[in-house]
Subunit: 635 residues, 2 copies
C-alpha cells in the first residue's frame, strides 16, 4: 500500500470523524433541549404555574435554538459536484465530495413540449468494491452511526450502572493493571503479529491498520461468561476480575484506537525523523483523552446527583427518570462532540449515577431506571448479535481474507497469553489472595470478543483495509460467542468452585452464599495494600462526596470542620436534615461502604457481607440476588 | 403544474414508498429474530438447558437468516449511474437513479507516478431547491424514516395501551362517528378550500396535494388538551369524546392519506372517464386498509396474549417484557411492510395488549411495560416538538408560502366547524346524554394539531408541493400547541364543570369523584342504544375472548356449552384452573366489565364505578388515579 493511499485513508478517516462529531453535536442539541424542557416543566409544576404544556415548551425552546443556529452559525465546507447529464463534471479534490448534485433534463409528456429541469442531491455512502449485490441485502445493513450513537451507549452505561462496586473496588489494583497494561500489550502483540504475517495476505495491511485492528479486537465482552458465572455462583473475586477487566478494557481499547489514529495522523503530517515525537504525543493524547472522558462522565454523574438532590424533581418520578436518562446520554454525546471518547464517559457516568444519584431518586424512579436499562440492554445486545449474524452474509462490503482471519485467531491467542499470565505473575508478587493458576486459565479463556469490538469495526468501512478488519472481527465474535457455551465445562475442568445447584432455589442459595462467601471476603480484607487504597478513597467519599451529592446522612455539617459550617449548611438539603438518622445511605445492596466501615472499625466483616445480601433481597432485581453479583443477570 | 410533472411526483412517491417498505421489512427481520431468540431462550431456561447464551442464539439465528437472504432473494432493481470524471454520464430514466457511482482518478503523491482509481457510492437524498445552506443546519435534520419508524409507533401504542376503555366504549358510537365521518369531512373541506384559493399562492398546488394536506392536517393531537383535562378533572364523557376522537382520527387520517395517494395513482394511470371507478376503488381501498390494519393489530395483540398465557414466560419478567415490546412493534412493521398502515395496527394492538395480555403478565412486567412506554412516550413526544421548533429554522427544504399558510388556518377553522357541530346535532338526535353546546365548543377548540400531522408531513419532502405542506404543517402545529395553554381559560369561559382544586390532594380528589361522577355514569347507562352495542360485545368478550386469551376466571370450561369441553380444556391453562376464584379478571382499574356487569344485573351501577376508582389507587400509576382517566397523565 502506498504512502499516498495511506494518507488518503487518514484524510478520509478525519472526514468521517468530523461527520460523526457533527452527528453527535446534533443529537446533543436535542438532548439539551429536552433537559431544559424537563427542568422548566418541573419548575412550572413546582410553582404550580400552568401557562404551557411541556410540548409547548419543547417547541418554544426548539424555535429559539433553531433561530440561533440559523442566524449565527458559519457555513462549514461541504463539497459537492454538480453532475449534468450533458456536460461532464469537474472536480479536482483528492477526497470524494460529500454530495453529488445530479441535474436531470426531462422531456416526459408525449403531448406537450415540456422540458423540465430538476436537481437531486446524493450523499456519499462509501467506497464501492463489489459492483453487484441486491437491494434487500444492501438494505439489511444499518448506518454505523446508529450503532455507535444509539445502540452502544445503553450497553456501556448499564455495565457501569449495574457494576457491583464492592468487589470491583476490592480488586481495583489488579483490574486497572489488566485493563491498562494488559490491553496495551494485547493490542500491540496482535497488531505486530498481523503486520509481520502481512505478506501472506491478499490485502497487505498497513501498520496503522494492524494496530487499529489490534486495539479494537482487544475489547473483550463479558456478557456470555458473566451470565454463566452468575448462574453458577463462581468465586466473587474471579467474577470481579473478569467483569472489571472486560468493562474497563473496552474503555482502554477505544482510547487506544483513537490514540493510534492520532499517531498515524501526526506521523503522516510530520517530516521524517519525528516519529519519536509523534509517538510521545500519541501517548500524551491517550492519557489526556482517557482522563478527560473519565472526568466528564463523573462530572455529569455528580451534576445529576446535585440536580436530584437540590430540586424537588423527585416529586415527579417521570420527570426525574427522564432527567436521569437525558443527563447520562448527554455525557456520551458531549464527549463524542469534544473529540473525547463517549464510551469512557458514559461508563463512569453510570458508575457515579449508581453510587450517588441512585440514592436521591424516588423509589419509583429507582425501579424505573433499573428496569429500563436492563430491558434496553437486553434488546440492544441481542440486536447487535443478530445483526452480526445477518450482516456476515448481507453486508455488501465484506472482504474475505482467510489468511488474515486465521492469523488473527493465532495473534489473539498469543496476545491474551502475554497479557494474562505475565501480569498475574507480577500481581501475585504483591497481591495477598493470590490469583491461583486455575483463575488465570479461566481469565485467559474468558477473553471473548463481542458487541464493542464489532461496533468499533463497523464505524469505518470506507477503505478495503477497514473492510477486511470488519470481516475478521465479525468472524471472531461469532466464533468466540458460540464457544462461550462451553464455559460451564471449562469451569468444571479447571476445578473452579461453583455454588452448585443453588440457582433456582433462593433460600438455599442464600445459605449457600453465607457458607461460601466469608473465606473470600475476609481473604480480600487481609490485604493491607488494597485496604489502604480503598480506605483512602472511602474516607473521602464518606466525609465529603456522599454528604455533598446525596440525601444520605451524615450531612456535611457533621463531617466538615466547624469553620466550613455556613457553606456546609448551604450544601445540605432540608430533606437530608429532616430525615430519620436510621435511614442511612442506601447503597442498593452494594454493601461497599458498610462492608468497608465494618472492616475499618474492626467489627465482624462477615456480617456486613451477609447484611448486604439481605438487602439485595428487597431490591427490585431480587430475583437474581442470591448470585454473588447480579450485575449481568439477564433474567 | 403540468400533468407530466404530477405523474412524475406520483412515481417518485411510489419509489419512496417502496423504499419505506424495504426499510420496514428490514427492521421487521430483526424483530422476528429477536422474538425467536426470546422464545428460544425461554424454552432453554424452562427446560434448564444451558448450551448457549442468548447472544449466541441471536447470532446463530442471524447467520441462518443472513444466509437465506443472501442465497435466495432475487436482486431487485436499483438504478445507478456511473459518473466518471472524464466522461459524461448517460442515463435516460425519467426518475432520478437511486445511486450515483463516482469514479475518481487521483494522482496524489508528488514523488511517485501513482494513479489510483476508486469508486464511491452516493445515495439519493432528495431534490435540491436552495443551493445554499450550511452543514450544521442540514445536519440538524433527521431521516424522516426515523420519525416514522422509530419515534411515532411508541406514541401511538401508548395511546392505545393507556386508553381508558370504559368510557371509550360507552361513547363508542359518537367517537366512531366523529373519527370516520368527521375526519373525512375535515379532510375534504380543507383540501377543497386550499384548492379553490390555489390561485393566490406562489406555488399552485395540485388537487392531490391539497387533499393530501387536508387529510394529514386532520389528525388532531390530544396531548396538550388532555394533560389539562387531567389536571382539572373535567367531565368524563367530554374527556372520552376528545380523547377517543383524536386517537382514532389519527388512524383515519393516515388511511385517508394512503387512499388519496392510491386514488391519484389510479387516476393517473387510468384512461379518461374512469374517474368514478378510480374513486370507488380508492374508497374500497380505504376500508380494506383500515380493516386489515385493525385486524392485524388485534391479531398480534391476541397472539401476545396467547403466548403469555400458554408459555410460562412470566417466570422471567425480562423475557416477558421483551416479548411484549417486540410483538407490539412487529405489528407496526408488518402492517407497513404489507402496504397497510402501521399506525392503525399498533393502536389496536395497544388496546388488545391492555385488554388481554396485561392480565397474563407478571406484576413486574406490568409495572415495567407501563413505565417503559410512559417514559418513551414522554421523551419521544417532547423530542418531536423540539424538532419542529428547531427544524422551522434549520430544515433546508422549507417552502414559505404565506398565502398557503394563511389560507390553511381559515380552512382548518371551517373544516373543524363543519365536522363538530353538524355531527353533534346529528348524534344528539339519538344520543341520550346529549352533547351540550359548551362541550361542542370545547371539542371544536380542542382540535390542535401535533406530532402525527408533522410526522406525516415530513415523510415525503421530495417535491416542492410536499415541502410547502411541511412548512404549513410545522407552522400550524407550532401555533396550535402554544395556543393550547389557553385551554384552562377556555374551560372557565365555556362554563364546563371541572373538579376544582382536587388536583394535589388525592384523598379529597377521590371524594370529589364520588360526588361528581355518578350523574354522568348513570346518565350514559340510561341510553338503550349504547347499552345494546356495548352489551353485545361485552357478552362475547366475557364468554369467549377473555377465557380464551387470559388467565382470568371464568374459564372456557365454565362459559362454553358442554359439547365443546374437550376443546375448552385444551385452551385452559393450568394456572387458570388452579388459581383462586376470588382473583377475578384484573382490568387495571378499568372497571369496563365490572361496571357493565353491574348494569346488566341491575345492581347499583355507581358502586361499580367507585370500585374501579378504588382499584386504581393501588395501580402503579396511582399518582394520577384521582383524575378521571389518567391515560395521558404525564407526571
Amino acid at each position: 500500500m502506498s504512502l499516498a493511499s495511506e494518507r488518503n485513508d487518514i484524510e478520509l478517516d478525519e472526514k468521517i470523524k468530523e461527520q460523526h462529531r457533527i452527528d453527535s453535536l446534533n443529537l446533543l442539541l436535542y438532548m439539551m433541549l429536552l433537559i431544559t424542557t424537563v427542568l422548566t416543566v418541573w419548575m412550572f409544576k413546582h410553582r404550580r404555574m400552568r401557562y404551557m404544556h411541556e410540548t409547548g415548551l419543547a417547541l418554544v425552546f426548539g424555535l429559539v435554538v433553531g433561530a440561533l443556529i440559523r442566524y449565527t452559525s458559519v457555513p462549514s465546507a461541504i463539497s459537492h459536484v454538480e453532475v449534468k447529464a450533458v456536460s461532464h463534471p469537474t472536480y479536482n479534490g483528492t477526497l470524494p465530495p460529500d454530495y453529488l448534485w445530479y441535474h436531470m433534463k426531462r422531456k416526459r409528456d408525449p403531448v406537450g413540449p415540456l422540458v423540465e429541469n430538476r436537481t437531486y442531491a446524493y450523499r456519499l455512502t462509501g467506497e464501492v468494491e463489489d459492483l453487484t449485490g441486491n437491494q434487500f441485502a444492501q438494505q439489511a445493513t444499518f448506518d454505523p452511526e446508529i450503532f455507535f450513537n444509539i445502540i452502544l451507549p445503553p450497553i456501556i452505561f448499564n455495565a457501569g450502572y449495574s457494576l457491583k462496586r464492592k468487589f470491583f473496588f476490592r480488586n481495583l489494583g489488579s483490574i486497572l493493571c489488566f485493563a491498562f497494561i494488559g490491553t496495551t500489550i494485547s493490542a500491540f502483540v496482535i497488531g505486530g503479529v498481523q503486520y509481520t504475517f502481512g505478506l501472506l495476505f491478499t490485502y497487505k495491511p498497513s501498520l496503522l491498520d494492524c494496530l487499529y485492528f489490534g486495539a479494537l479486537i482487544s475489547a473483550t465482552d463479558p456478557v456470555t461468561i458473566l451470565a454463566i458465572f452468575n448462574d453458577l455462583h463462581v468465586d466473587v473475586n474471579l467474577y470481579a476480575l473478569v467483569f472489571g477487566e472486560s468493562v474497563l478494557n473496552d474503555a482502554v481499547a477505544i482510547v487506544l484506537v483513537t490514540a493510534i489514529e492520532n499517531y498515524a495522523k501526526l506521523y503522516a503530517t510530520a517530516a521524517d525523523g519525528f516519529e519519536a515525537i509523534a509517538f510521545l504525543k500519541a501517548i500524551g493524547l491517550f492519557f489526556y483523552v482517557f482522563c478527560s472522558s473519565f472526568l466528564l462522565g463523573s462530572v455529569m454523574g455528580c451534576a445529576t446527583a446535585l440536580l436530584t438532590k437540590f430540586t424537588h424533581i423527585r416529586d415527579f418520578p417521570l420527570l426525574e427518570s427522564s432527567l436521569f436518562l437525558l443527563m447520562s446520554y448527554s455525557s456520551f454525546l458531549i464527549a463524542e462532540a469534544a473529540d473525547l471518547t463517549g464510551i469512557v464517559a458514559v461508563l463512569f457516568c453510570g458508575i457515579c449515577q449508581a453510587h450517588y444519584t441512585y440514592n436521591n431518586l424516588s423509589d419509583e424512579a429507582r425501579v424505573r431506571t433499573k428496569d429500563f436499562f436492563e430491558l434496553i440492554n437486553f434488546l440492544t445486545e441481542n440486536f447487535i448479535f443478530s445483526y452480526i449474524g445477518v450482516s456476515l452474509f448481507t453486508f455488501p462490503k465484506h472482504q474475505w481474507d482467510f489468511a488474515f482471519i486465521g492469523c488473527a485467531f493465532i495473534s489473539l491467542f498469543v496476545g491474551r497469553l502475554l497479557n494474562i499470565y505475565p501480569l498475574s505473575w507480577l500481581l501475585n508478587l504483591r497481591r495477598n489472595p493470590k490469583i491461583p493458576l486455575n483463575f488465570q486459565h479461566m481469565m485467559f479463556l474468558a477473553g471473548l470478543r463481542g458487541a464493542i469490538a464489532f461496533a468499533l469495526a463497523i464505524r469505518n468501512t470506507y477503505s478495503v483495509g477497514r473492510q477486511t478488519i470488519l470481516t475478521a472481527t465479525s468472524i471472531i465474535v461469532a466464533v468466540t460467542v458460540v464457544y462461550g457455551g462451553l464455559t460451564t465445562q471449562l469451569l468444571l475442568w479447571l476445578g473452579i468452585p461453583v455454588g452448585g445447584e443453588a440457582e433456582e432455589d433462593e433460600t438455599t442459595g442464600l445459605n449457600q452464599m453465607q457458607r461460601t462467601r466469608p473465606p473470600n471476603a475476609t481473604g480480600a480484607r487481609d490485604n493491607p495494600e488494597k485496604a489502604r487504597l480503598v480506605r483512602l478513597w472511602s474516607n473521602f467519599d464518606t466525609a465529603f462526596m456522599k454528604p455533598l451529592l446525596t440525601n444520605a446522612r451524615p450531612t456535611l455539617l457533621e463531617t466538615l470542620p466547624m469553620c466550613c459550617h455556613p457553606l456546609a449548611r448551604l450544601l445540605t438539603s432540608t430533606q437530608q436534615l429532616t430525615q430519620d438518622t436510621s435511614n442511612k445511605y442506601d447503597d442498593d445492596g452494594e454493601g461497599f461502604l458498610e462492608g468497608d466501615d465494618a472492616s475499618l472499625h474492626g467489627a465482624g466483616g462477615d456480617s456486613g457481607s451477609i447484611h448486604s445480601n439481605g438487602r439485595q433481597m428487597t431490591a427490585p432485581d431480587a430475583a437474581g440476588a442470591t448470585s454473588p453479583p447480579p450485575a449481568a443477570s439477564h433474567m
